[in-house]
């Protein structure tokens, strides 16, 4: 197992004439919680989708454990998309079974336990759930895996503050010491306490990638304050 978990070299993505990512070089290690922070349309989702093989790079490459996204990387990456993506006809328990069938690192017991804590019934069909509840189901599924890399795209965007705390606790409790969690968000103050590293991204460029302690020491302010300063309108 190499020390480097995720690596981007000159990674570029264009949609027509619009540049979503402009030659990103990035290296993520193991055992960290990393915030991918940037305003809307900065390239956060594009980067995460590229890591999942849902988008094809226009230039450069993205590697996970030294491999391009494929079945081997998908087996060790747990992905939480920013939109609801689960088939609406399925019941919650069908989805638990499906994840159990396909992912060797999935724990159905843990998923069932988290669902019951959140008072979500396994018999419920997805189409009858509210948007917030659907997001919770998606998060439970993603965090019930013992993955090496969690890619969480806006995990707390659509839920109420109480659920937000539960979700962050869940993330902290469920990932192993060797795993890395990449959380994309613009709600920085909520996740700042749990972060080890921060990546600032704007217009498809990585502005900085530093440990949060380093930011606090050298800049003399919180990541949230620093973010507001850097991205001042």
């Amino acid at each position: 197992m190499t020390e480097e978990l995720l690596c981007c070299r000159g990674l570029g993505k264009q949609f027509g004439h619009k540049v979503a990512l402009a030659g990103v070089d990035l290296s993520l290690g193991r055992g960290r919680i990393i915030g991918l922070l940037g305003p809307n349309g900065s390239g956060k989702t594009t980067l995460i989708k590229l890591a999942n093989g849902l988008l094809t790079p226009t230039r450069g490459e993205i590697l996970i454990n030294g491999e391009v996204p494929g079945p081997a990387t998908k087996a060790v990456v747990s992905y939480l998309p920013d939109a609801s993506y689960l088939p609406s006809w399925m019941r919650v328990r069908d989805l638990v079974n499906m994840f159990d069938d396909f992912y060797a690192d999935f724990s159905a017991d843990r998923a069932v336990e988290m669902l019951s804590t959140l008072e979500i019934s396994g018999a419920e069909r997805l189409k009858h759930l509210s948007k917030g509840t659907k997001e919770k189901v998606q998060l439970v599924l993603a965090m019930s895996r013992q993955a090496q890399l969690y890619l969480l795209d806006e995990p707390i965007g659509g839920v109420d503050p109480a659920a937000r705390d539960y979700i962050l606790r869940t993330i902290l409790q469920n990932y192993s010491a060797e795993a890395t969690v990449l959380i994309s968000t613009h709600l920085i103050s909520d996740i700042e306490p749990v972060l080890d590293e921060a990546i600032f991204i704007q217009n498809g460029h990585i502005l900085l990638h530093r440990p949060v302690d380093d930011i606090r020491e050298t800049e003399g302010k919180s990541v949230d304050e620093y973010f507001r300063e850097v991205f001042k309108c």
């Binding site: 999942n52 849902l54 988008l55 094809t56 081997a72 998908k74 087996a75 396909f102 992912y103």
Partner: protein, 268 residues
């Protein structure tokens, strides 16, 4: 993994097809009965029910066709693609699971169409004694062609039937794979992906039919019958030619679909 994919593919489609087939069966029995009672010469209800049955039959066929496309497009290239394309499986396995389920439902729809027609007939015949007598006649008629066929052509009926079924299968595979390829090529465009897919479909269909015209071995019915002294050979050549073409085209469509899904996916 393929078996697991198939399991969820059938789970996703079984309910709607089940409802469709039950509806068709119910309507065929109702149509049959309403043609029997009242047994007057101008039975308007019976005629209307028969029309409803025919419409339902057409609807089931159309639904089968649309479901083949929808399952591929929505489940792999739409919102559910985020789930399916992040499963640790190869793209050819995804395509194969869709293909097998599509073939199975196409066959089931054809069988249900035949079955519903049988149900309608059974419900419509005035009395059962007559029905059994008719059934005997039907059986005679059905079993007559093989003997007649072999007598006139000197060619085994069952081998011929096997060829027909094989052609049906490979033609089904290549037709479905053409739909998939069209979706994947259309997906390479940034905008108007659905329109692009439809244009690609007609373009490929046109090119293939033009290609078939210039390929050796193309013969019209007249030319075949001109060889009347050895008609079975002529027909056989045509069958195997079509089977070969479908196998080649189907393989190309499948490979292109799996390649584009693996290497050129862009879920925006």
């Amino acid at each position: 993994m393929l078996r697991k994919l198939l399991k969820y593919e059938f789970l996703a489609t079984a309910r709607v097809f089940g409802v469709c087939y039950l509806g068709l069966a119910a309507l065929s029995i109702l149509a049959g009965l309403s043609m029997k009672f009242p047994a007057t010469s101008n039975n308007i209800v019976g005629a209307l029910m028969l029309m409803a049955y025919v419409c339902m039959l057409a609807a089931v066929m159309l639904f089968t066709f649309l479901t083949i496309i929808r399952r591929f497009y929505k489940n792999l290239l739409g919102g559910e693609g985020y789930l399916m394309n992040t499963l640790p499986v190869r793209s050819w396995q995804l395509v194969t699971s869709k293909l097998i389920a599509s073939l199975a439902w196409s066959a089931a729809s054809l069988v249900m169409a035949a079955l519903s027609f049988a149900l309608l007939t059974i419900a419509a015949v005035p009395t059962f004694s007559l029905f059994w007598k008719d059934l005997a006649t039907v059986w005679d008629v059905l079993t007559y062609p093989p003997a007649y066929f072999e007598l006139t052509t000197g060619f085994s009926f069952w081998l011929f039937l096997l060829e027909v079924l094989l052609l049906l299968l490979v033609d089904g595979i290549s037709s479905i794979c053409l739909l998939y390829t069209s979706c994947m090529v259309g997906h390479q465009f940034r905008r108007w992906r659905v329109a692009a897919s439809i244009i690609v479909y007609f373009l490929i269909s046109f090119l293939v039919s033009a290609l078939l015209d210039v390929l050796p071995g193309n013969a019209s019915a007249q030319q075949i019958f001109a060889l009347a002294d050895n008609i079975s050979l002529a027909v056989n050549i045509q069958f195997w030619r079509l089977i070969l073409v479908d196998v080649v085209l189907g393989s190309i469509y499948f490979a292109v679909t799996a390649y584009l899904l693996e290497k050129r996916l862009n879920l925006e």
